[in-house]
Amino acid sequence: MIRLFANANYDFIKWTRWAYTLTGAIMLVGLAFLVTRGLNYSIEFTGGTLVQVETKTTVPIGQIREALDNVGLHGAEIQTFGSDTSYVIRARTSASADTTGADTVAVTAGVTRAFDASAGAGAYRIERTEVVRPKVGRELQGKAFLAIIFSFFVTLIYLAARFEWRFGLAAVLATAHDVLATIAFISVMHLEVSLVVVGAVLTVVGYSLNDTIIIFDRVRENLHKYRRQNLYEILNLSINETLPRSVLTHGTTIATTLALLLLAGEVIRPFAWVMSFGIFTGTFSSIYIAAPILLLIEKRWPGEDARGARALGARAPTPAPSGPSTPKSVPPPPVPRVPVR
C-alpha cells in the first residue's frame, strides 16, 4: 500500500516566523493593490447594467467602443468573455443616477444600436442582460459583509461548545486570515467581486475551518493521550499525524477545483479561482496560523492543565517515541497570570 507521509516528523511550528513573514508580505501586496486599485465589484454590488452579446464574427473592441461612444455610452467597460465572439459590456450607474430608471433602459437600447452599427443588424444575439439599482447593490454589500462576520460568530460559539474557547478563537483567527488573504488575492488578480465570488469566499471559510478542525480534533485527542508532552510537541505531532489525510483531501479537492477552473466556463471561473487559492491558504493557515495562535493563546491564558505555560519552556521529561525534533530553546517569556473564566 502506498503511504504518503506515513511517519512524518516535521517541526512545522518552527517555521511560524517565516510563515508570518510570508503571509504578512502577501497581505501587504494585497493591501497595496486594494488601496491603489480597489476591488472590482460586479454590478450586483455597484448597480448598473451588464449586457452580454454573442456575435457571429469577431468584432474589434475598438470598433465596439467607437460605436458605443457614438450612441452616447461613454466609459462603458468592454471585455471579451471566454471567446472572441462573446462580449460583456458593463455600465456602472453613477450615484447621481440613483433615482432615474431611464438610464438603465437607455444602456440596453444603446448597446443594441452600437452592435447594429459595429457588427451589423442580425449578426449578433443578446445573451444576457442584468440591471441592478445601486440601492440593491448597497444592500447586498452590507449583507455579504454581515454574512462573513456572522459565520465567524456562529463558528466561534460552535467550537467553544465542542472544544474550548481557545480552540475556537484560534480557528476563527486563522479563518479571518484566510478571508484577508483571499481578498488580497482577489484584488491582485483583479477578479470581479460578484455574489458568487462572495459565496466562494464563504466556502473557503467553511473549507479552512474544516481543515483546522481536523487538526484541532487530533490535538484534543493527543492532549488526553500524551499527558507529559507540551503543547508545542502535541501540535507538531497532530499536524504530522493528519498529514496523509490533508494530502489526500486537498488532492481530491484541487482536482475538482481545477476541473471547474478549466472546464466549467466563464461564469464560474472567478469562483474557481477563489476556491483554488482558498484551498492553499486554508491548508496553510490550519498549520501555520491556527496552531501557532493556539500556542500563543495557551501561553497567555493557560487552560486547565496549564500546558500552554510550558509550551515553549522545558520539554517533558520522557518524550514520546514519535516525538518531534527538539524546538529551539527560547527563554520562556514572563507569563502573566490572568485568571481565566
Binding site: Y158, T249, T252, T253, A264
Partner: protein, 539 residues
C-alpha cells in the same frame, strides 16, 4: 448477520427512494400554442429537477414601490396588492412556471423561466390594475344566444369536441334552457360551444371543464362568434378554478358591458369576521362621487348579482345585491374562511390604489447560454469525478473502490435530495456540487487513514475497522457541522443562484455523511463477513 441485513435494507430503501424521486414523471407545463400563440397546458415527461433561470434561461425581476413621486405609507400592503395583481396576470406570461413571491417586506420577485422578451414581461407586470363592478347577465341573454353561436360555428365547420349529446348540460339539477334544447334536437348534433358549458349556480355563470377552457376561450375569441354574442354582454373568465367533486371547472361569466363602478371610486377595503354571526366580511368605503353613482345603480339592481372584475378576471363568486348601497358597503362571504375575505379585500385595494412599482433588479438570460452552462458544468463534473476516482483507487486500492461506490451513491442522494425537496439547481449550485465531490471523500479519507493507523498500532482487522470509524467520527462531525453552518448563513443572506449553491452544499454534506460513514461501513462489514480469515486489508 442481521445488522448487515438491516443496513442493506436501509441502503436499499434510500437508493430506491432516490431513484424514484428522479424517475421521469408527467408534469404539467404551460407552453404557447403554435397556432393561436396563447398559453395552454401540456403534459411532458421529464426528470423532476428544477433548473434555475441561469441554467434554463429566463427573466428575473425584482420590484419595489416607487417612492420617487412621493412617499408610500405602507409599502408592505402596496407590495401585497401588487403581488395580487401580477398573479391575476400570470397566464399572460409566455412561461412554464412563473414564480411570483414577496421577498422580505417590500420587494416583489417575479421569475419567468423561458420568457425571452423582457420588455413584454415588464409591460405586463407594470400595467396599472383595473377594477370594476359589473352586473351579471340577469336576463340570460347569452344563454339564449347560444344556439345561434353554435349555428355560426357549425357553418364555419367547427366540430364539437364533447360526446355528450346535450346543449347546456344539467350539472346541478338546474333547468336546461328550452331554446338550447330545441337547437340540439333540431341539428341533432351537440353545439361546439354549448357542449363545453355547464350551467352555473347563478344567472350568467357557466362552468367549463378545466382541461377544455382554452378551447372554449379560442372559440369565444373568433370574430364570427363575437358578432353573435348579444350586444351589451361581455364574457369574462373567473380567476379561480373551482372543483366540483372530482372534476375542476373554470367559471365563465356573462356580464353587462358597462361597469357600475370602477376602482377609482373605491377608498378603502378591509376584511373582518363578524362577532355576532361569525361570518367573514369585506367592508368597503367609496368616494363621495362613487357613493352617488353606486347608490343609484344598486337601487336599480336589487337581487341582482355583481361581479368583481380585476384586470378582466372575475374574482370569486359574484355577491348578490341585497339593498341600496351608498358610501359604505359590505360583502358577506358567509362561512368561508377569513383568508378568503382578506384576499378579496386585497383585490379591492389592488384595484383602488394601484401601487407604483419600479424595477430594481432585472436579469435576462438566454436559453442557449444556460444550455452551454449546463454542458460545461457537466463536463467539469465528469472530469472532476474521474480525477477523484483515480486518486482514491490509486491510493486506497480496494477500499478506494468502496469509497468510489459510496461516492456514486453520494451523487445519487444529492441530486435526489435536490429534486425531492423541490430545490432549484443553479449554475453556482452545479459548481458547488462538483466541488463537493472532491470534499465528499474527505470523510472516507479520514476513516481510512484512521484504520491504517489502528492497523499500524497492531490492532486486529475487525477492531481496527471498528475503531477507525469510531475515532474518525468526532473530526467528521465537527468539521461537517461547521461547514454546514457557514452554508446555512450563505443561504440566509444570498439570493437566487447563491441560495442554490448553499442548498446544494448542505444537501451534499448530509449525503456525504450518510454515504461515507454508513454505506462504507456496511461494505466493510460484508467484506469481513465473507472473509473471516482475512488479516490484511487493502486500504
Amino acid at each position: 448477520m442481521s445488522t448487515i441485513r438491516g443496513r442493506l435494507i436501509l441502503i436499499g430503501i434510500l437508493v430506491l427512494g432516490s431513484a424514484l424521486s428522479l424517475l421521469p414523471r408527467n408534469e404539467t407545463q404551460r407552453i404557447p400554442d403554435a397556432v393561436t400563440g396563447r398559453m395552454k397546458d401540456t403534459t411532458v415527461r421529464r426528470v423532476p429537477i428544477n433548473l434555475g433561470l441561469d441554467l434554463q434561461g429566463g427573466i428575473h425581476l425584482a420590484l419595489e414601490v416607487d417612492e420617487s413621486k412621493g412617499p408610500v405609507p405602507d409599502c408592505a400592503d402596496a407590495i401585497q396588492r401588487a403581488e395580487r395583481v401580477v398573479r391575476t396576470r400570470i397566464d399572460q406570461f409566455g412561461t412554464t412556471e412563473p414564480v411570483v413571491q414577496i421577498q422580505g417586506r417590500c420587494r416583489l420577485i417575479v421569475e419567468l423561466a423561458g420568457e425571452k422578451d423582457p420588455a413584454r414581461a415588464k409591460s405586463i407586470i407594470a400595467r396599472t390594475a383595473f377594477l370594476e363592478f359589473r352586473i351579471t347577465d340577469m336576463q340570460n341573454q347569452f344563454q339564449a344566444a347560444l344556439p345561434q353561436i353554435d349555428a355560426v360555428l357549425r357553418r364555419a365547420g367547427v366540430k364539437s369536441r364533447a360526446a355528450a349529446p346535450s346543449a347546456v348540460s344539467q350539472l346541478f339539477g338546474k333547468d336546461t334552457s328550452k331554446a338550447a334544447r330545441d337547437s340540439a334536437t333540431e341539428a341533432n348534433t351537440p353545439g361546439a360551444l354549448s357542449s363545453l358549458l355547464f350551467q352555473g349556480q347563478l344567472p350568467g355563470e357557466f362552468l367549463v371543464p378545466e382541461e377544455q377552457w382554452e378551447v372554449a376561450d379560442s372559440l369565444l375569441l373568433r370574430p364570427d362568434v363575437r358578432q353573435a354574442i348579444p350586444r351589451g354582454i361581455d364574457l369574462k373568465w373567473g380567476a379561480q378554478i373551482e372543483s366540483r367533486g372530482a372534476k375542476s371547472y373554470k367559471p365563465l361569466y356573462a356580464v353587462e358591458s358597462h361597469s357600475i363602478i370602477t376602482g377609482e371610486e373605491l377608498q378603502k377595503a378591509t376584511a373582518r369576521r363578524d362577532q355576532l354571526t361569525n361570518q367573514s366580511i369585506v367592508e368597503f368605503v367609496l368616494t363621495r362621487r362613487g357613493a352617488r353613482i353606486f347608490g343609484e345603480e344598486t337601487a336599480r339592481h336589487i337581487q341582482h348579482y355583481m361581479a368583481i372584475i380585476l384586470d378582466g378576471r372575475v374574482q370569486g363568486q359574484p355577491p348578490i345585491i341585497k339593498s341600496q348601497i351608498n358610501a359604505r358597503g359590505m360583502i358577506e362571504l358567509g362561512t368561508k374562511p377569513l383568508q378568503e375575505a382578506s384576499d378579496l379585500a386585497l383585490v379591492l385595494r389592488a384595484g383602488a390604489l394601484p401601487a407604483p412599482l419600479q424595477i430594481v433588479e432585472e436579469r435576462a438570460i438566454g436559453a442557449s447560454l444556460g444550455a452551454d452552462s449546463i454542458k460545461d458544468g457537466i463536463r467539469a463534473g465528469v472530469v472532476g469525478v474521474v480525477l477523484v476516482i483515480v486518486i482514491m483507487v490509486g491510493y486506497y486500492r480496494l477500499s478506494g473502490v468502496l469509497a468510489v461506490a459510496a461516492l456514486t451513491l453520494y451523487c445519487l442522494f444529492t441530486i435526489a435530495g435536490l429534486s425531492a425537496f423541490g430545490f432549484t439547481l443553479t449554475l453556482p449550485g452545479l459548481a458547488g456540487f462538483v466541488l463537493s465531490i472532491g470534499i465528499a471523500v474527505d470523510a472516507n479519507v479520514l476513516i481510512f487513514e484512521r484504520i491504517r493507523e489502528e492497523l499500524v498500532h497492531g490492532k486486529s482487522l475487525r477492531l481496527a475497522i471498528e475503531d477507525g470509524f469510531k475515532h474518525a467520527m468526532n473530526a467528521i462531525v465537527d468539521s461537517n457541522v461547521s461547514t454546514a453552518l457557514t452554508a446555512f448563513i450563505l443561504y440566509l443572506v444570498g439570493t437566487g443562484p447563491v441560495q442554490g449553491f448553499a442548498i446544494t452544499l448542505i444537501i451534499g454534506i448530509a449525503a456525504s455523511m450518510v454515504s461515507a460513514i454508513f454505506v462504507v461501513k456496511t461494505f466493510f462489514l460484508i467484506w469481513l463477513q465473507r472473509r473471516p480469515a482475512m488479516t490484511t486489508l487493502s486500504v
